[in-house]
Symmetry: C2
Subunit: 110 residues, 2 copies
Amino acid sequence: MVQSKTELFEEELKTQAAWFKVLAHPARLKILQYLSEANSCITGDLSEELPLGRTTVNQHIKELKEAGLIQGHIEGVRTKYCLNPEKIAEVKAVIEEFLSALNAGDYECK
Amino acid sequence: MVQSKTELFEEELKTQAAWFKVLAHPARLKILQYLSEANSCITGDLSEELPLGRTTVNQHIKELKEAGLIQGHIEGVRTKYCLNPEKIAEVKAVIEEFLSALNAGDYECK
DNA sequence: GTTTTTTGACGTATATTTGCGTCAAAACAA
DNA sequence: TTGTTTTGACGCAAATATACGTCAAAAAAC
C-alpha cells in the first residue's frame, strides 16, 4: 500500500521533481562541477576526486548518464566523460522555469 | 557500514544538494506552486489539491516548514500557510549560483 | 598467448523516504 | 459539559537510495 504515487501528478511537476532529484546528492553535484571546471573531457578515475569508493562513484556517474547530463566515450581501456551541453541547457531551463514561477513577494503574511 | 557520507563533502555542495533534495518531490513542488499561485496565505486542507492522503501531505508540509520555505500561522482551529519570501529568495540564489557555474558550452566532446 | 588496468554489471546491507493509519490536543459550537 | 473539526505527533510497512564488495569483460602491455 505504499506504492509510489508520483505518477499521479502532472507531467510537468514530475519532470521538474525528477531533475531536482538528479541534483539532490553532493557527489553528483561534485562530478558535474568537476567536469565543468575541467572544461574538457576527462579520462580516468573520478573517484579520486571525491570521498567515496570507486563503485559508488560509478553508480552516481551512471545516474547522471541515465539522466543524460553526461556522456561517456570509450577510448581504449579508458572512458572519457563529458558534460552533455544540450541536457545541461535543458535542466537549466526546466529549473529556471519553476523558480521564476515561484512568487512570494506580493502579499502580507501575518 | 553504509553510513551516510554526505558530511564528507564541502559545505557548499552539501547546502546545494540539500536544497535540491527539498524540491525533489512533486508533492512539495505542487504545494509551493499552489501557495504561490494563490498569492496569499491559505487556510484549510491542502490535501484536497493533491492526490495524496492528508497525513502524507502534512508530512510534506512539515518538510517544507523545516526547510523554512513555508510558514504556518495558527488561526484558531485552522492554520494559515504562507510562503516565506526570504527563504524562497535564498533557495533561488543558491540554485542559480550552482547552475550558472555549470558550463558545458566551450569544448568539443568527441 | 598471459597479465595488467580499467570499467561496468550484479548483488547485498543499511539508511532514508514515502505514504498512511491512528491517536491526542486545541479551538470552537452546542 | 459534550461533541465536532482541524491539525500535529507518532509509528509502521513498503519503496527507494546509498555505499560498497566482488566478479567479468575489454583493451592494452608484456
